[in-house]
Structures are given as C-alpha cells and as structure tokens.
C-alpha cells in the first residue's frame, strides 16, 4: 500500500492532497503541542514549506523565557527534595511557552526512551540534570546522548549502576541499555549482558557528577557482541551503536511517535530511514526533518493515526484556547490521566497508544477538559476563557461559534451529524431556564463554555 521509494520523498501539495487546515493541524499536533487559531491560519497562508521550516528550526527562545525558566530550575527554587509534580509543572510550562516546541517534543520522546523516574531517584537536581543533556541532544546526536546517559547521575541511581562494583556487577543498566535504549529484545544474549555489566562497574556520583572510580572498576577483559577488550561503559555504548539493529530500533520508535501507531511499519518501509540515520551519524534533527517533510507524513494513511498522550491532550486545549493556566494544577491533573513527567511508570516508559485510554482515564480527560473551560473549577481560575476567545475572533452566531471551535480543535473534520448535535445543543441552551440571578452575559458564557467542553469530548479530539 505504501511505496517505500516515494514514502520518504518530500511532500508536495497537489489537488488531491492539498496543503490545508487539516494538514496544518496535523503538523502542529505531531511536531508541537497543538496550535492557536492564529497559528493555524498563518500556517495555511504561509504554505507548507515555510511552515515546516518554522516548526523544524523553531525560533530562538526569548530572553524572558530563558531567564524565567532557568530561575525556576535553580537550586534555590527547586532544591533536591522538590516534589515530582513541581518538576513536571516546570517542564509543562516550557512546553506551553517555548518558541521551539519540536525540541521540547523530542525531549519528551527521549525522556520516555531513557525513562527515568524521580520516584526512585528522589532528587530533583539529578532529574533536572538529566533533562539538560536530553534537551541539548534532543535534535542532535543520539550517539552523544546514549554515551552521556551512561554517567548521568539520575540514571546511575535509577538503574543501580552506583551499586555495581568490581567482582559484584549489577546487571540492571547493561540490560536496559541493550533491551530498551539501543537494540531491542533479540539482538543480544544474556552473556552479552553479564559481560557488559562488568564494564559498568565502579561508576559513582561525586559532587553531583557521574564519574568512574578506577579502584572499583573491573578492568578485566570483557567479551561483548563477539568483541573483546578492557571495555568501560562508553565502549559498550559504542558497541551498541555499531550494531545494525540500533538505527532500526530507534527509527521504529520514532515512527510510532511521529507518524503512526495504528499500523506496524514493514522493515522495507523503515530501511531507507535506518540507513539515513546511520549515514548522518545518528543526527536526530536530520532524521526528524526528513520524516516530517515526507509524503508519508502528510498521507491519509497516517492522519489521526495516534492517540494523544495526556500532555498532548491538555496542552492542545490550553494552547487552543490561548489560555494561561497554572502549570502546577495542570501537572497534578495529568497524573490522573496517567502521565507524570519525570515519573514514567517503568524504565520502558509509557506504553502509549490505545493504552492511554481506558474507561477511567477517558473520564478524567473529559473532566479535565471541563475544568479547563469552566470558571466553576477553582483549580485553573478563569484564564482559559472560551467566551472571550470567541469574542476576540468575532464569532457570534451559533454556526460561527461551532465552526470556529471545530476548526480550532479538529480542523472541521467531523461527521455532519456531530456538528448538528452541537448546534442543537446551543439552540436548546437558549430555551433553558437559568437561575434568576444569572445576567444575560452569564448565560452567554455558560453556553460558550459548555459547547467548548462538548467539542473537546469528540472522539476525533482524542486522536493526534
């Protein structure tokens, strides 16, 4: 169905497959954290090339953003004992306000890849310390990133490397390095793991940095993937990177993240990207650019072929409504939806895909959407205000209101019946008997909030 030869060639709009609102929405959902109405309109007007350039290259962060975020992350404001939700709030705030959302999005990908949880690390300084190389290399070298993780203090604690010494190796890091970080099950043996574990002995944390303590390090010869040597941790990482399984493993994971969770791509489809990733020496930015600009990315096959993660779901609402919400209550709400940043459930990260949605998390999603649109919810105050947004965009009639919201959140792409139901509700809500003390404006606000909430419960809105 999909031709690997043309799949990765650059997308060019055509009469059958034009650059339009739907494609702009698709791009902002996948490569950013959703869009405002203005961003969507600008993207459609600017055309696909300019929009892709903007999204991929991003803009430099403002001095204010950087200073504020750095201050918030300083030791004074977030000491080691800071609770996880505050860490998560700090990152959410970056996601919502950054001038280069793709970079934060990739950082989220790598956080899920090197899934490390503060529930065990119990040190906000180390967690923030791990975020730094992840953010630095998110669109850069996976090679550097993989090597850096071997001495990252949060990782050293998370996978017990600090407990692993000469003569008494602990296998935890060596196993996950191969199974989850670089190769995948089936591309190493149990002997490879036991041998590699020796190379990761003697690492410890000194003055907040991961270092090798030679006196605790096993200097014997190790044999991994058929090669022998007095390997240290970074040598094992390099051996993993040299395996042909490595780029394939990463490309498959990035495919699910950016392109489609709905189908399993064939080896044949992914092979050109795997080769490319190796050719560009694991430059993730180049790989991601190629993926996002491709025919396949803009093809009907992969449209709405992902389930939004809780972060994508919530950020999409806040950004769409031009909202300013407290990041801390937002972070706390995301825990209910199953995603606490800096605290993935295991070293495998979040399962993602359909696993995000079960009965309970679905209700939490609906109820979070309600809270974000409602003045009656004390958590978020009134800073997401659908009525004000609609007024700013001069949408007054019921049809204008419904179409604006549908364009904003699902690019108008819903069955006609759904649109009709929303219009019916607005009509009925005019006939409702409201409390006597409600002013006319209260009624308007109520109808706007209610219909916005209803739009956010559409099944289409759950898809990314």
């Amino acid at each position: 169905m999909i031709d690997p030869k043309t799949a990765w060639a650059p997308y060019t709009p055509s009469a059958e497959n034009p650059w339009d609102l739907r494609k702009a929405g698709h791009l902002f959902r996948r490569a950013a954290f959703g869009a405002t109405a203005t961003e969507l309109q600008d993207a459609v007007a600017a055309g696909h090339e300019k929009t892709l350039d903007r999204i991929i290259n991003g803009n430099p962060e403002s001095a204010d953003f950087t200073a504020t975020s750095d201050f918030m992350a300083s030791e004074r404001s977030m000491p080691a004992g800071t609770e996880t939700n505050r860490l998560a709030a700090w990152w959410l705030d970056r996601m919502l306000k950054t001038a280069h959302p793709l970079r934060e999005k990739l950082s989220l990908f790598w956080h899920n890849h090197f899934a490390t949880s503060n529930s065990k690390v119990l040190n906000a300084r180390y967690m923030l310390g791990q975020y730094r190389p992840i953010h630095q290399h998110s669109l850069g070298s996976f090679r550097e990133l993989l090597i850096a993780m071997g001495t990252d203090p949060a990782m050293l604690i998370w996978l017990d490397t600090t407990q692993s010494v000469k003569g008494k190796p602990n296998e935890n890091y060596a196993r996950e390095l191969m199974e989850l970080f670089s190769l995948g099950v089936g591309h190493y043996t149990e002997t490879d793991i036991r041998e590699a574990a020796k190379a990761f002995t003697g690492y410890e944390i000194k003055d907040g940095k991961g270092i090798l303590n030679e006196s605790q390090h096993d200097t014997s010869k190790k044999r991994v993937f058929g090669q022998s040597g007095n390997f240290q941790g970074q040598d094992i990482a390099r051996l993993c990177l040299a395996q042909s399984a490595c780029p394939r493993f990463l490309v498959r994971k990035l495919f699910a993240f950016f392109i489609s969770e709905a189908e399993m791509p064939s080896e044949e489809l992914l092979e050109p990207l795997s080769q490319f990733y190796r050719e560009v020496e694991f430059d993730t930015g180049k790989l991601v650019s190629r993926m996002l600009r491709s025919n396949l990315f803009f093809s009907p096959n992969v449209y709405r072929a992902r389930i939004k993660s809780p972060v994508e779901f919530a950020a999409g609402i806040v950004r769409g409504l031009d909202g300013r919400v407290g990041a801390l209550p937002l972070a706390e709400s995301l825990a209910e939806l199953g995603q606490v940043l800096f605290a993935p459930p295991s070293v495998k990260g979040w399962d993602g895909g359909p696993a995000w949605l079960n009965a309970q998390t679905l209700l939490f999603r609906n109820n979070l959407a309600l809270a974000l649109t409602s003045t009656e919810d004390t958590r978020f105050s009134t800073r997401c205000d659908p009525a004000a947004l609609l007024a700013r965009h001069a949408r007054r009639s019921d049809a204008e209101i419904v179409d604006f919201l549908l364009d904003l959140f699902v690019q108008g792409d819903v069955p006609d019946a759904s649109r009709t139901k929303l219009l019916d509700y607005l009509a009925r809500a005019k006939q409702t008997n409201y409390p006597a003390y409600w002013a006319e404006n209260d009624v308007v606000q109520h109808r706007m909030r209610a219909v916005t909430h209803l739009v956010l419960t559409l099944p289409e809105f759950e898809l990314c």
């Binding site: 017990d160 935890n172 995948g184 149990e190 359909p354 079960n358 309970q360 209700l363 649109t373 909030r449």
Partner: protein, 425 residues
C-alpha cells in the same frame, strides 16, 4: 522484529466486538456460594507483583544451608520467618498471609513455577505471563481470550499511573479500568437538570457518530484509519454506559475489617465493594509495582519486606472482609510475578533477574498447603532456580476448575490443571 507495543496497538484496534460492557447485560448473581467447582458465581482476583518478586525471600527454605550461603547479607534468619511447615516459612512480614494458612486453611503455595527458556526481560516475561503464551508475538491476554469464551463481568482496578494490563486485551468488550467510584463519573458544567441531560446527550451521541465516521466523509479529505477512531468511540460508549451503572452503587462502603493504608489495599477494598454491590462482577485485576530489587532490598525489614507486607496485609484484609460477608468460598486470589530473582544475592545487597518462583492462591476453596518441591539451590541454571511447574497449569486450573472455561483455546495447548482447589462435596 516487531515489538509487543506495536502488536498490542494493532490488536487493540481489532479486538473490540460488542459495545456494551458485559456486566451491563447481566443481572446480579444472588447466592454467595460456590456449590461446585466452576460454579456460576466464583470470583477471580489476579494480583500482579510487577518487577520480578524475589520468590526465595518470599517462600523461604529456612533449613537449607545452601540458602544462607547464597545470600550472606539478605537471607532471612532461620527462626525469623512465619513457619508453614518444618521446611518452609513465609517472609516475616507476611504474618497475615501465614495466618490464612494456619487458621483458615485458605492459602495454597505453588512452588517452582515458570516456563521453558525463561526470558529475563521484565517486559517480555510479563507479556508471557499476561498472555499465557510463549509465542513470539503476543497480542491478547489469557483473561481477554477467556472472556471471548465466557462473558464474565470484569474490572481492572487501577492505580493512578497505570494502564490496563495485556492480560485483559482481546476481550470482546473492553474491560473498564477504575481508580475510584467517585472519579468514575462524567461531569458537566450544567445549569440545570435539563441542561445536564442535553449535554450528556451530545457527549454520548458524538461518541457514537465517531463510529460512523469510518466511512470517508468527503472526497479528498484525509480520513483517519477507521479502526483507531472506532476504538476511541467504543471506549467512550463503553465508559459512559459503565459510569451510569456504577453511579447507582453507594459511595459509603463500610468494610467489616480495617484495611491497611496502602494503594494495593485500597484497590482490593474497591474490588470488595464491587463484589458486595452484587453487580455480578467476576474477574478483578490489580497490580503492585516495585519488586525490581536490584539493590538494597533488605532482609527481614527493608524495601522488599515492605512490599510483601502490603501484599500479605492487603490480601488478608480483603479475604476477611469478604468472608464476613459470606463470600469466602466464592473467592480465589491469585498472585504472580514476571519472574523470580537470581538465587545468589548480587554485590549491591539485592538480586538480579532470575526465574522459577512461587505463586499464591487464597480463598475458601483453595487446597490449602504447599504444592511442589522447593527448587534445588545447588542445581541452578546460570545461577537461576529451575522451575518444575509451568504457570499455565495454574492458569488451566483456574480456568477449568474455577471459572468453568475450557483452557485449551485460551492457552493454545492442553495443560493439565494443577490440583489447587479443594474437592467439594
């Protein structure tokens, strides 16, 4: 090679046949008795110990000198454990579970459980246990498949950060995950009853119209792969129907015993409430995470002890609560973990991934005792205990003799049911 994740995703999209959850179409089962094995109102509660529980420090061969040699730092001292027999003791933190054995005759310990060529990957091995199969590609769970054969109302009682287990995948209607009854409600910003009804009507209607949208709406329009939208629609419709039903259950459950304050105990308490509400619930799935004790796991006290205490206290409270309500003979609680741990401790006073480990079954009708020998501590395979009982024999027993489901189509092969249930009159 295909990863489990992708296959699950694929299969998740295919496996949802009917829309209405099974328990909605059924009336309550009144009589809380199990007259014969596989009787109509037996209940299964699966307790998953995530991370690889150290079986050797859970069920302890306290007379075996080899045990103390293998574990100079973390072994449980000879007289510290809760003795079940002259050879075998439970971890000292498991006094409650031990008392179900000594006072209630309601605990069955199955020794040395595993499967051939054990995987030491958490995720692969957990998939194998969840699927009840060692095939390379695992897409459906053993309980999900069972639900195809017999529609038994089921719940996954989840903790906050937890997704539904593979074990429940493949069921004809998605098994609902619930964290609490209070949260299992659809909320609206409504100004009146009529307004609320109108809003709810829209929410339910747009959910179902998502299903019709699998037909392309307009030519030239990109349409989503129908299955994914369909999956969301079905999950929504399922959930809204379930939440209506559960809204009728009273919020103030008064347990007959005091449950300990742990996440696991809270989840079991919710299961007890749903059982007692008489909505016909038959299968529950709960998990407790944290058993990946590579370092500093402790001995009689410490990290592992705390986990075992939660398991022991939680299950015992659950059993006693329901026993007081007359349900004890309907209960079968089954624990498992994806693997046991290395026989010898590692240099970090913890244990690395191993294989071969015990399972517990708790209930008024389980055959109380210790089934099978303690695996040898001298004859090891790469440092790991060698299993002698395939876990699918336990599953087969639960399916055949407790739930009344033919196990062969579920397990893909005929496994002889292990003799874990007491013979009834």
């Amino acid at each position: 090679m295909a990863t489990r994740r992708e296959f699950i995703q694929q299969s998740s999209l295919l496996g949802f046949g009917t829309t209405v959850p099974a328990f909605l179409g059924r009336t309550a089962f009144a009589a809380p008795t199990a007259e014969k094995l596989g009787a109509k109102d037996t209940i299964l509660i699966v307790v998953q110990l995530t991370g690889g529980n150290d079986g050797l420090n859970t069920v302890i061969p306290f007379k075996n000198t080899e045990y103390y040699k293998l574990r100079p730092n973390i072994a449980i001292a000879k007289d510290a454990g809760k003795k079940l027999t002259d050879e075998i003791a439970l971890h000292p933190a498991m006094g409650e579970l031990a008392s179900l054995y000594t006072d209630q005759a309601a605990l069955c310990v199955v020794q040395g459980v595993g499967y051939p060529n054990p995987s030491q990957s958490h995720f692969r091995s957990m998939d194998i246990w969840n699927a009840g199969s060692t095939e390379e590609t695992l897409t459906e769970g053993w309980l999900g498949k069972s639900l195809k054969a017999k529609s038994l109302p089921s719940f996954h009682i989840a903790s906050g950060n937890e997704t539904a287990p593979l074990a429940l995948n493949g069921a004809p209607a998605r098994v609902p995950s619930i964290t609490s009854l209070e949260d299992f409600q659809l909320k609206m910003a409504s100004s009146s009853g009529a307004d609320k009804k109108a809003q709810k009507g829209v929410i339910v209607d747009v959910a179902s119209s998502g299903r019709q949208a699998s037909v392309p709406m307009k030519t030239g329009t990109p349409t989503s792969p129908p299955s994914l939208l369909d999956f969301v629609s079905r999950t929504q419709m399922n959930t809204y129907a379930s939440s209506d039903k559960l809204a009728s259950i009273g919020k103030n459950y008064q347990p007959k015993v005091t449950y300990p304050s742990s996440g696991l105990a809270n989840r079991l308490k919710l299961a007890a409430q749903l059982i007692d509400a008489g909505i016909g619930a038959r299968i529950f799935y709960v998990s407790i995470d944290g058993f990946d004790t590579h370092a500093g796991q402790g001995s009689a006290a410490g990290a592992h002890a705390n986990l075992l205490q939660q398991v022991s206290d939680g299950i015992a409270a659950f059993y006693r609560d329901l026993a007081e309500r007359g349900h004890k003979d309907r209960l079968c609680v089954m624990t498992f973990s994806e693997f046991g741990r290395r026989a010898g401790e590692n240099g970090s006073k913890g244990t690395d991934h191993g294989s071969g480990a015990p399972m517990f079954l708790v209930g008024g009708k389980v055959k109380s005792g210790i089934l099978g020998e303690q695996p040898s501590l001298t004859k090891l395979e790469a440092g790991n205990l060698i299993h002698h009982t395939d876990f699918r024999r336990v599953y087969a027993a639960v399916l055949e003799n407790w739930l009344g489901i033919d196990s062969k189509p579920v397990l893909g092969d005929a496994f002889e049911p292990l003799d874990v249930f007491a013979k009834l009159k």
